[in-house]
């Protein structure tokens, strides 16, 4: 693995999954992994299995629900979709993230005092 790739921050994976399900509707774990991979353009390294830990956590909090169905290539797969409670949470987390990332980028943008 190249040193230029970054580890996924704890907790951000949850947010990414919620957003993905919000944007694209019901998906299975494989699809979610693909989507994150695609969006992150290989910047993030991710053991795809980690997605499932995150999915279980989200499910226990009733932010997403799952249902067995048939995938595009005719495989039995579990499809996850976001719930109302999840949507609310997504809004809260998005706002949080934006605030924090704004602070961080402002901090990082500080010039070295002469």
């Amino acid at each position: 693995m190249g040193a230029e790739k970054s580890e996924v921050l704890q907790g951000t994976l949850d947010l990414m999954i919620l957003k993905t399900l919000h944007a694209l509707g019901a998906m299975h774990g494989f699809g979610i992994a693909r989507r994150i991979e695609q969006v992150s353009e290989d910047v993030l390294t991710l053991n795809e299995g980690t997605v499932y830990t995150s999915l279980l956590r989200l499910q226990q909090k009733s932010w997403i629900v799952s249902e067995w169905g048939i995938s595009d290539n005719n495989r039995r797969a579990r499809f996850y979709s976001i719930t109302k409670r999840g949507l609310k949470q997504l809004a809260v987390e998005t706002e949080n993230w934006e605030r924090i990332s704004g602070v961080i980028s402002r901090v990082l943008a500080m010039e070295v005092e002469p």
Partner: protein, 905 residues
Amino acid sequence: MMERLLVFAAKFRTFFRRSTDDAEFSDEIEGHVAMLAERYESQGMSAEDATRAARRQFGNVTLLTQKRKEARTTMFFSNVARDLRYGVRQLLKTPVFTLVCVLTLALGVGANTAVFSVMYAVLAKMLPVNDASRVVYVHTSGFPVGAYNTGNYDTSFSYAGYRELREHSGLEEVIGFIPMSASGKSPVRSGAVPEEATGDMVTGNYFSGLGIGTQLGRGFVQKDESDHAAVTVISDSFWQSHYARSADVIGKTLFIKTHPFTIVGVAAKGFEGTEGRLPLDFWIPLQNHPDFNAWGNPVEDDGGSYLTIERFWCMKLMARIPAGVSNQQALAKAQGTFQQAAYLGIAQKRAGEKIPQLSFFPAKQFDMQDDSSARSLKTLMAMVGLVLVIAMCNVVMLLMARNANRQREFSIRLAIGAGRREIARQLLTESFLLVTLGGAVAWVFATVATRALGAWSRIDSNLQPDATVMWFTLSILVVLALVFGLAPLRAAMSSGTELALRSSATVSQASVKKSRAGNAVIVAQIAMCVALLVGAGLLLGTLRNLLKIDLGQKTNGLLVFGVRPQHTKSKDESLAFFAALQQRLRAMPGVESVSLVDNRPGSGWSSNNGGMLIDGHKPNGIEPTEAEFRQNTVGSDFFHTMGVPILQGRDFSDADTATSQQVIIVNETFAKKYVGTTNAVGHTMTNTKGKNPKLIVGVVKDHKYTSITEPTMPMRWNAYTQVGLVNVLDVEMRVKGDPMAMLPTVRKFMREIDPDAPLLQPMTQTEVFQQSISQQVTFARLAGCFGVLAVVLIATGLYGTLSYRVSRRSAEIGVRMALGAQRWQIVWMVLRGSLLLTGIGVVMGVPLALAASRGLASSLYGVKPLDVASYALAIVGVTLVALAASGLPAGRAGSVDPSTALRAE
């Protein structure tokens, strides 16, 4: 918070589908990996490389699965499951300990539940009426001079009074009901066989006013009362037993006292009437036919009945207070109306007379003014409470002893990293297991015991434990579980980790503090046991005295049953019926003699009278109006049949008829008190105006009339042929052998005489008298049982604790013996300890017993609260039990072999 709950719920759900989740998850992962592999293959990799790459990309499957297993459910559940498994194993490992604990708990908790059920039902349970807080029983302080009553003097009102109260008292509803007979029972027939059933005649607003619904058909309406309609509402249990809950019961005919009544409704389930201990089978509206006079009394010669005689107080009343009015306000308002109405039909209010006062009592299941049974129940409750405390102490001591043996286990667990919380949880789990087992057995025991208690106290209505009782029991159980779990906790914790490394010889130095706590428990137990035994002793002494009382008659071999002719229309017909009946019964094989009686001896019923002149003068100097006596109306051969010795003169005979000379027989007390000599035969008794002369033809020995415990009273007997109309008489029948064995023959015989007349309450005369003390008997027997129970518990507790102490001290004993101590010295050392404890316990128990017996004083008969024998027996009993319980362990201590004991360490 909400989120936490959701997560907990999700984890809880997953706990039950762990294996499904495992399978599903592995499916999901396999699918994912397969899809990844397909993707790599389509990018041109070989199948083998693609699979490998897919696995690498996916990550460590085993690790992921493990993580999921931990995350999907909480450890709490699996921990509890593990604790439970471990707890069960612990209990199974010591089966005797478990059995003793469970049985002790079952007896202690079960007895409490049973007594509480009965106490709750009798003292606290409300009638299942709508808005019960506004419904009351109406009582009076008495009835005016000039009126007369049937039933209890404080619950009887006249029909006229009822009408007035209903119209003018301002009460929302005034509800009246009248028993069909003195026993509450009356002859009914639903099919071919006549039988007895309990019923009340009620006012039209009975169901609507109380707010009792019907599960089928309708209740009564006002029109039913004013028309005296021939309709009836039956109870749920009568519906069940006679019509198998069939819905087409409505419209069927039920014959009551041979009159046809149409069934129009079935009362709501759970409503058994308003007669307390007697559950009712049916209700009918107030009737005006002569057969339905109040309490089954015969109507007057002029046809006067409860509806027309304003001085006849016979009706029980309940009332509903208007909404928004307090009981006191309602009572104050009704009082005036009542005090006016009370004098309806009475020509003149006597000067200085106490005017009857109305009062209201809450609508409980039992309209209990009888303090004695309330007090008995409370005493019993206190006794079982003590038993429970003793039982609890026992189990705690057993648990502590057992857990002390497990100290090594606890310290090892602490040493290898168990938290104190884990150990506490483990102990609590074990105690909950134990208590659950005990509780389950206790509930079964309580159900049986409640039924037995109900039968003993002659309460027929439903007493089975309900929700309130269940909460009571559950809360006891939870408290017990906590005590049992937490009491041994300190001991377990105090061991600390270092104990695991020590040898047990050092452990054997039981700390003084610990044994001091145990000693305090033993002393308290012994003190309570002394108090219980003294109480039991006093009550059993009472019982012995009651059973020893001479009845003055030979009740053995006597069968008694009531007969009510169903087809006699006049006094003459009725007299002829009974005369013929007596003749025919006399001719039955196996019958020695037969007589008739109005008030069944021993049943508590009595006619009380007063006012007389003897030979035209004041009776022996007593004011004529103050000469009171009890009386009974009987048939020929009465004293001969009852086995009462005749001191002078003769028995009644068949020659004493309506037209022959009016004769009476009196008892010794009557003769001495009012005639001045037992030679009373030949004197004449008249009423205070010198009318209605009756010749005394016999004097009989004093004997018991209403009950076993009654004091001797002046008694007079009339011949039934020479008094007014009688419509029910009891037959007294002296037979060879067992009286009850005669019953089928008598029944068959009676059916030939009158197919509509059932035998009323057939039983042996001995049984009648025994029932008059059944409450005291039950009370004493139960107290005895609890005393014995307490002793058994104390014995097991002492034995367990001492055995345990001896086993812990075996090393010390070994050393002592090795140093030359004699066997008897060792035995004495152990015995001395327990004797000392017993001594202290007894000393502390005596004041407790004194307090208890003072409380019992009113329930005693012929025994003083400071009965020396009872105290001595209790003290000797406890000491003997303590000696026996400590003797075995002491003997074992004496036979410790020093070399074995020391080597074992």
